[in-house]
């Protein structure tokens, strides 16, 4: 009986080690992740990163970042459908302030400034499901996307849609 228990325990232990070896997320030093988030999302001025030889083209990050409301959520590889222009919403979204990120900690941060729109007519499409965050380069670049905690439905003339300070959460803790 004791021998059988030991053998069973050994099998469980081996499976646990195999699982640990196969899990590849959470593998980046979190201080390094924090540094990257601070560099990219707390900057108030444009800057260019130039990769080393063979690392591809240089790319420029151009704040301020803009918050866009989406009537249809995209994916990590495809843009969503932005809320139609007009009635208080302008294509391209609204600024998240000079500095987008609040305090970065544990691979995550939230917005340091509020962003809002006040409707001047009934919004159509009537439902907004998600947001995207883009920079303000000549040809803007999309950086972040995600679902609203709860859809927004029925915005009418005089209503205000607000993302308060801390209402947008960005997490890279699982890098």
């Amino acid at each position: 009986m004791l021998r059988a228990l030991r053998r069973y325990g050994s099998i469980i232990g081996a499976l646990f080690l195999l699982r640990s070896a196969l899990l590849l997320n959470n593998m980046t030093d979190q201080t390094f992740v924090n540094n990257l988030l601070n560099a990219i999302f707390k900057s108030s001025t444009s800057f260019t990163i130039t990769p080393g030889t063979g690392g591809g083209s240089a790319f420029t990050i151009t704040p301020p970042f803009h918050l866009r409301l989406m009537s249809t959520q995209g994916s990590n590889t495809a843009n969503g459908t932005e809320q139609a222009n007009g009635n208080g919403y302008t294509t391209g979204g609204t600024s998240l302030g000079t500095t987008f990120a609040g305090t970065v900690a544990s691979g995550a941060f939230s917005n340091a400034n509020s962003a809002s729109w006040t409707a001047t007519g009934t919004w159509s499409p009537a439902t907004q499901t998600s947001i995207e965050i883009w920079d303000t380069a000549g040809t803007p670049v999309r950086y972040l996307q995600g679902a609203l905690t709860s859809n927004i439905t029925g915005v009418a003339n005089g209503d205000t849609v607000t993302f308060a300070v801390g209402a947008i959460t960005v997490s890279a803790a699982a890098w």
Binding site: T127, S130, I131, G146, S150, D159
Partner: protein
């Protein structure tokens, strides 16, 4: 603010601009209906929910809602795999 039932996800908060009464809008819910559920009676015409939103103000004739609200939205976002223009 209305209490949430056990296990329900916290939705957007909606606040009447006139009386500052707040309610929680559940996913897919209508912002003005949520305020009705909270007992807000600021609409001077006695309109509620979608009927209220569709209502054109009889005084101004501009369609101005008689009880505008502030919607407090929240979201969780992640980095996209391929930054796209």
């Amino acid at each position: 603010m209305m209490p949430l039932e056990d296990g329900m996800q916290l939705g957007n908060i909606v606040e009447c601009k006139q009386c500052a009464k707040r309610a929680t809008v559940m996913d897919g819910g209508h912002v003005h209906e949520a305020l009705d559920d909270a007992g807000c009676t600021c609409c001077p015409h006695g309109h509620y929910g979608q009927e209220h939103v569709d209502h054109a103000d009889p005084v101004t004739g501009t369609g101005q809602p008689c009880r505008p609200v502030t919607i407090y939205a929240n979201a969780v976002v992640q980095l996209v795999q391929a930054p796209s223009a």
